[in-house]
């Protein structure tokens, strides 16, 4: 039964990391760079299953990938970040996608928190058994 607290905890941990990457993506949505390589690329965590027992499986973040979407080039000769030709390179963050991602992560986090609470209540009641 104690396993389940571990499982719910690992899921909350993974969702929290997803929220963190979403937050940095949103924060850097308008960041510009002076070359294509330096431009900010949207980050996304990759989840994988970790066995915590014979039948119980937690979640781990096996890595963070960067989006391969093309980086847009914008003509802003007045920008101090502009390259020799007057172009700046904008991040490839899709804000709509990130908002949806954020809501999905927070809902999944809430679900795991609910599992955690219910299991904790059941355990407390088990401890009270026979009193």
């Amino acid at each position: 039964m104690f396993n389940i607290l571990d499982i719910a905890g690992s899921a909350m941990n993974a969702q929290m990391l997803r929220l963190n990457t979403t937050a940095s993506n949103m924060a850097n949505a308008d960041a510009v760079a002076s070359s294509e390589n330096e431009a900010y690329r949207a980050k996304q965590p990759v989840f994988s299953t970790v066995l915590k027992g014979l039948n119980s499986a937690g979640v781990a973040v096996s890595g963070v990938t960067e989006s391969t979407a093309p980086v847009a080039r914008r003509y802003e000769p007045g920008n101090p970040q502009a390259d020799g030709e007057g172009y700046v390179y904008v991040s490839n963050v899709n804000e709509v996608e990130e908002m949806a991602n954020m809501i999905s992560a927070s809902r999944s986090f809430q679900n795991s928190a609910e599992v955690f609470n219910t299991s904790k209540d059941l355990m407390m009641r088990t401890l009270q058994l026979g009193k």
Partner: protein, 134 residues
């Protein structure tokens, strides 16, 4: 009549154990709702409890050191684990359907609590017998 916990508590002890196992499996499903390729699982409770009980009534004697204990009912409960058939599998191979898992988890929690209540009454019955109703 000697007071024996196995006979006094009846099926509820195994039921509580099976419910706790099922809560872990369902909790794993909810935890892995966003993991690509994860296949949702569940415990067939009737089968798991049946096996746990069957295991109790038929016991094998360990006459040699190499014999494996038949009383290891954990392995039988593990055998009741099955993959869920998804109504709408997703493109990334994940078969967790959150609403189903949530409903099953809540159902399991309530049944766990009722088993706890049964066990509690068994204990208060035993206490009553020991103290003679005083």
């Amino acid at each position: 009549m000697p007071i024996n916990f196995d006979t006094a508590l009846g099926v509820h002890e195994q039921a509580l154990y099976s419910r706790a196992r099922r809560a872990e499996v369902l909790g794993s499903n909810i935890a892995n709702v966003d993991t690509p390729g994860y296949k949702a699982r569940d415990i067939d409770f009737r089968e798991a409890l049946g096996k746990a009980q069957q295991n109790r009534s038929i016991s094998l004697a360990n006459t040699q050191s190499g014999h494996i204990s038949a009383a290891d009912n954990q392995r039988h409960i593990e055998a009741g684990v099955k993959y869920r058939n998804p109504y709408q599998p997703s493109q990334d191979g994940n078969t967790v359907e959150l609403h189903i898992e949530q409903a099953q988890f809540a159902d399991n929690a309530i049944r766990y609590q009722s088993t706890l209540t049964f066990l509690g009454s068994k204990f208060s019955g035993l206490k009553n017998a020991i103290t003679g109703g005083r």
